[in-house]
Symmetry: C2
Subunit: 146 residues, 2 copies
């Protein structure tokens, strides 16, 4: 951060670390890997431009997300972060399917219960909220959304 202790970026780029160095607040000399990885993936010049275009209070979050993205690209050079997005989208679809099935099961159980109540009482009794219409719409929702 100026003077005797250059930040990790200026150290790697072998340049003088000015007092107003744009990297210094986010890339301390104790953590050289953090800058090295974003430099390798995005390039120091692009990172500098991206930070300059942001207000100060958003730069820490931007650096964190760039480091996260760069690490993901190093671990998975083909898909990077997009691999994680794809995995999570599949997990969301799978959970939506399981939830729709569980909701359909709740309606099924309630319908069975209602039918058993009608038979047991020998008359027309309506207990619970399940109906064939609701069950059909839940199953339709399940197949339309997956």
């Amino acid at each position: 951060m100026g003077g005797n202790s250059p930040c990790a970026s200026c150290k790697l780029l072998r340049r003088r670390c000015a007092k107003d160095c744009i990297f210094a607040p986010y890339f301390p000399s104790e953590d050289p890997h953090k800058f090295a990885i974003v430099h390798k993936v995005f390039g120091a010049s692009n990172v500098s431009k991206m930070l300059q275009e942001l207000p100060f209070d958003q730069r820490t979050d931007a650096v964190s997300s760039l480091v996260y993205e760069a690490n993901a690209r190093m671990r998975d050079p083909v898909y990077g972060c997009v691999g994680a997005i794809s995995y999570l989208q599949n997990q969301v679809s799978e959970l939506q399917m399981q939830l729709a099935l569980a909701q359909a099961e709740i309606l099924c159980i309630q319908m069975q219960h209602d039918q058993a109540t009608i038979v047991d009482s020998g008359g027309i009794v309506c207990r619970g909220s399940a109906s064939p219409f609701l069950l059909a719409s839940t199953i339709k929702h399940l197949f339309v959304n997956n």
Copy 2:
């Protein structure tokens, strides 16, 4: 792709498009925006290095994921792709909670049904798989995981 029609990358970088240009198969001249955006976020030199380090059959996927990441960074300069990952992780947590609740509801309904059966028949009848132990473990799972 060499000769009279340079690829989008060579056109933007104002250089001759060689026959073995690494960008040409993935950045056709008809789609200049595709290269412009990865160049702005990652830099042409970094994209070239990343592609060179990959076998040919993985380069198309790598370019697609780089374009996706670059677009996400342009839309959201602070969080980029990481914003989407965070959103999806929250969605997964929310769905896991809803699923655990639905599963607990199934057990509750089954237990109520079992109790009604015992009362109706005036004896000890065991119908369904619900038990207080299962219900407790489902609820415990719900609170431990959320």
